[in-house]
Assembly symmetry: C2
Homo-oligomer: 209 residues x 2
DNA sequence: ACCGCTTTGGAACGTTGTTCCAACACCTAG
DNA sequence: CTAGGTGTTGGAACAACGTTCCAAAGCGGT
């Protein structure tokens, strides 16, 4: 399992094959099937291992202030996925897996502590979880793009990468007036700060429920 | 291309292989490579075709009221992805593809018309697009789950599916107190209404910028 | 009617997830 | 101490996939 996470961190989900994992562990591919049912199971278990340590760590960091609880959880997940980009794609692809359910439950509990009306808690938690996993998927996509481009320096925000290529002529810039205007202000931005800004927008909306 | 979309709608991304598409078109697999570079290209083109008609349709429906413009675009995309669940996964997996850039640009333009401050337009559009694509990915995941389960009646919200299986004992319900509480109120809910509720939360947050 | 270029169709290649099974290790009962 | 059963191991084998390759067929202009 530890070996699988290392491979995933190094080369993404494409680098993790049963054969590469078997040779890394000096064993046969068939032996792995006595520990996991199939590849989906393997990825689920790997993502679960990462998320477990994250959620436990966020639990300790949350502390007393209820209004900071959601932020601690959500930013903790963000940081974890920055370190392990494949986790985002994995969680988004199979939302019923335990790691996602625990994240959702955790966010919901924080919102309850924040005083969000019961009727709206599910909707509010959904928006927050979707935002985390949405940004997370982008990071994995950006990692894919960066590894495909030979020696290219890529920002992690795939939106900006695409918008940049639009400005360099690969896509017709005239069809994207908003993007061409806004991308100039964002040439040197902080991904984490941008994610946090999104969270704040959502929290303001939630606070008015 | 039309044939590819039909196959994707019927059986998801796994059902679309170069061999199945070739036999459906009564041709060889090699011939397809003279129209698209590879499978990623094929999926990008298919998703682009769907999104083009959606965005054009939403453009017509938007009309005069600026405050309804964002809602029209975002709900239009939601409805399209309900009909073609694979589009959501495809857009989320490669955010730099033209279809995503056009969606992002369109949402940004609507926010600009709404009077959102320039500084915050990028963050606001990001949150909205992430929410759409996040919910969209869930639908594709739910379709996968429904086709895997033999004859199972599945709700489309994968969160609820997972939560239901938690309540039926597959996952330890004691670890998910929030989910076990909230899932009872949502046994018969409307997916579209829930998506719209998420959009409203975000729009309230945006309006306070 | 000829020749160049593009398109076609199907065979072939390498890689992947998965299955299968003989060999092996280990623990428990007698 | 030994025999037998249970569970694990490792590697060969299979089917399916994306992709490449190339001979054959079309098709345009001179």
């Amino acid at each position: 399992m530890h070996a699988a996470i290392e491979t995933l961190d190094a080369g993404g989900v494409d680098a993790l094959t049963f054969r590469s994992l078997a040779s890394q562990l000096s064993t046969g591919s068939g032996a792995i099937y006595h520990h996991v049912a199939n590849k989906e199971d393997l990825l689920t278990a790997a993502a679960d291992a990462v998320m477990t340590s994250v959620l436990d760590g966020a639990a300790a960091a949350a502390g007393a202030d209820a209004s900071q609880g959601v932020r601690a959880v959500v930013l903790g997940v963000f940081d974890a996925i920055s370190a392990h980009p494949w986790v985002g794609t994995q969680l988004a692809a199979a939302p019923w897996q335990p790691a996602v359910l625990r994240l959702f439950d955790r966010v919901g509990a924080e919102l309850d502590a924040l005083g969000v009306p019961e009727r709206a808690q599910f909707d509010a938690a959904s928006v927050l979880v979707h935002h985390v996993l949405g940004v997370a998927s982008q990071y994995d996509a950006g990692a894919h793009l960066a590894s495909a481009q030979p020696g290219g320096r890529f920002d992690r925000s795939a939106f900006l990468d695409g918008a940049t290529s639009a400005l360099t002529g690969e896509v017709d810039a005239a069809d994207l007036p908003f993007l061409t205007r806004v991308v100039r202000q964002l040439q040197n931005h902080d991904d984490r700060e941008q994610f946090r800004a999104g969270v704040e927008i959502i929290l303001v909306g939630i606070s008015h429920l």
